[in-house]
Symmetry: C2
Amino acid sequence: MAQLSSSMEPMLKLRDELDIVIPTIRNLDLLETWRPFFEPYHLIIIQDGDPSKTIKVPEGFDYELYNRNDINRILGHKASCISFKDSACRCFGYMVSKKKYIYTIDDDCFVAKDPSGKDINVIEQHMKNLLTPSTPHFFNTLYDPFASGAEFVRGYPFSMREGVKTVVSHGLWLNTPDYDAPTKLVKPLERNTKYVDAVMTIPKGTLFSMCGMNLAFDRELIGPAMYFGLMGDKHPITGYDDMWAGWCAKVICDHMGWGVKTGLPYVWHKKASNRSENLKREYEGIFCQEVGVPFLQSVVLPKECTSVQQCYLELAKQVKDTLGQVDPYFIKLADGMVTWIEAWDDLNTPKGNQKLKHHKWLVSKRRSKLITKKKYGVVDGKSKRDAN
Amino acid sequence: MAQLSSSMEPMLKLRDELDIVIPTIRNLDLLETWRPFFEPYHLIIIQDGDPSKTIKVPEGFDYELYNRNDINRILGHKASCISFKDSACRCFGYMVSKKKYIYTIDDDCFVAKDPSGKDINVIEQHMKNLLTPSTPHFFNTLYDPFASGAEFVRGYPFSMREGVKTVVSHGLWLNTPDYDAPTKLVKPLERNTKYVDAVMTIPKGTLFSMCGMNLAFDRELIGPAMYFGLMGDKHPITGYDDMWAGWCAKVICDHMGWGVKTGLPYVWHKKASNRSENLKREYEGIFCQEVGVPFLQSVVLPKECTSVQQCYLELAKQVKDTLGQVDPYFIKLADGMVTWIEAWDDLNTPKGNQKLKHHKWLVSKRRSKLITKKKYGVVDGKSKRDAN
C-alpha cells in the first residue's frame, strides 16, 4: 500500500463516527445476518409508506426510527423535499445524523462472501476506501494504489501521488445486478457472479451510476450533495434517486477536488421485484437520465462556489434554467434541491441540533413505549396471548 | 455481454490480421513457453544492440528479424527516429508490419495462469477487448459492459451504450510489477499476486501509464501514434518509451473518439534487472514524466486534425514549442516525432510497400542462410563439432 492513514488501524474508534442508514417498509429481520458487523454502530431507520405500521427491529441494535409523521414534524413545510413511497426517503437520515460518516444499505442486501468463503465486512472495506486518498487525476493501472499490496505504477507522476481526499465509497453487489427495468426484462436470469478484487478512483470529469444499495460517504464533507431527489408519491419518476445524487455529487466532488472510489466491498443482493411494474415506474426516469446526464457532464461550477452548499444551490439554478425548459418535473426537482439545502442547514446548526435533540427524544420515547409493550406481551396492539 | 462483434467468433481468421512484435537482445528460448499461443501468428523480432550477434529463435515459428543494420538500410537517415539500446526500438516493428493488429510483448514475460490454473491465452483476450467497443464517456461500475456476463448498469445513458471503437488493449502483469526505479528500491520484494478479473475503459480525458510489456492495438487506426520516442543510446532518457507512446496515443484517441481498455489479460513477468542501474538510467525519465504529463493533460488538438498523422504532427509542434523551452531533449524528441511520421508514411504507401517487400526478401534470405548453416552443423561461425 502506498500510504496508510494513521487513523485506519483503530477501526473501533469509528463506532462513534459512523451511522448506518436503512430505508425500509418491512420488518428488519435481515439485520440478524448483519449483526456481527452492524451491532457496534448506531442505525438510523427511515420507515417509508404507512407510518402507522410498526417496523420490527431485532433486539440488541442501537437505533432510531423515523416514519413520515416524524419527518413532517421535524421539517415542517420543508418536508416536501423528502420523497414518500420511494427509497429516496433515506436521505432524511443523512440530514439527522450527527456523525462524520454514513453507510447506507438496502433492506434486500445480505452479507456476501469473498472467494475464500469469508464473510465480507462491508464497513471495514468502505472505511479503508474512505480513509485513504483517491487518485482522480491520473489512472493507476494496478487499481487503488493505496490498497494493501498495491502501489503507483511506473509513469505515474510523483507530483500526483499524494492523491486527494476520498469522500464517496461506492460498493458493488453479487447475485442480482443493478440493472434498469428494460435490461431486467431482456435478461431476467442474469446474475453477477464475478468477484472483482479491486477498488478504483473514478477519474475527474467522468460520471458514473451511483447505486444506493451499498454506499458510504463522508457526511461532513459531501453530505449536502447527497440529496436523493423527488421520487415516488406525487412525482412522475421513481428509482433514479441514487443516480441523481451520484451524478450531482460527482460534479461537485470534481469541482471541490475530492475523490470517489468504486469496487469492493460486495453485498449479496436478493431482489424480488416485479419487472413489468419496474418498467412502468422507471419509464420517466429513463427520460430523466437521457437528458440529465449530458447536461450534468457539461455543467461548470463557478470558482466562487467554495462550499458544497453553494455548489448545490448553483446546480439547482442551472437545473431549473436548463432542464426546466425540457420538462416541468425539473423545475420541481430544482425547488426540492433548494429546500433540501435549507433543511440541511436548519438541522446542522447549533440551534438545529438543539431542536433535533428534542425530536430524537420523542422518537426514542416511542421506541421505549414499544419495547415496554413487547415486554408485557403487547405487540401491534395485540397481547402475546392473543397472538398465540 | 452487452453486444458481441460478429467478427469475434472465428479467432482463426485473425491469423492473417495480427503480427507479434518482440524487441530483444537475447535468444528467444522463451518462445517455447508461448508456442501454443504464438505459433499461428507471424512474429516481427527487433534485435536491439550489436547487430553481428545471432539471435536464436526456436524452430517452427514464422518470423522476420530486423537488426540495427536492417533498420538503417530501410529507413536511411530517418533511422535516427528509432532508438538504439532501448526496447523503444520495437516501434520499428509496428512500421514494417502490414497487419491490422499488433501484439507486443517483452522478452522477460511468460504465460500466466488464471485463478483456475488454466494458461491464459493473451491474444484471445486482447482481441476480445479490441473487437468490442469501449465506453470512455461514462463509467460502468460493473466494468467492461461488453465482457462475457456483464452489462450496462442502471443509470447508464442509453444514448451512450453503443460505445466507440476500441484501438488499444493494455494487459497487465503478475509477479514483478511495473514499478519505477525509486519504487523498486523502496519495495524490492513486492510482487503482484492479485488477479483482478476485469477489463475497463479508461475514461476520456484521463491519462494512464501504458506499459509495452503486454500490449495490443489497432495498427491501422492508432499505429502512427505508437511512437516509442528517443531513448537509450545517445539520449539522456531510457525506460519511458512506452509511457511516452501511451500518453500521446491517449490524447489522440480522446480527440479521435476512440477507446482504450486496460485489465485482462495477464502475463507472468520475471524481471532480473539491476535496481541501482535502473535508477541511474531512469533519473532523467522521471523529470520528463513530471513535466510531460501535466503538459499532455492540457493539450487541445484543433478540430482540423482529422487523421492520426495530423494529430501527431500537431502534438510534435506543441511539444517543441512548450516542453522544448523546459529542456532541449524535448526539441530532439519533437524532431524524432516528425521523422517517425515521415518514415511511417514512406513505408505505408503502395510505393513504400514495394520497397519494403525487397527488404523483407533480404531479411528472409539471411534467415534461410542461417537455417542452412544450422542444418549443416555451422552456427555462429562454428561447426557443431567445434562447439562440442
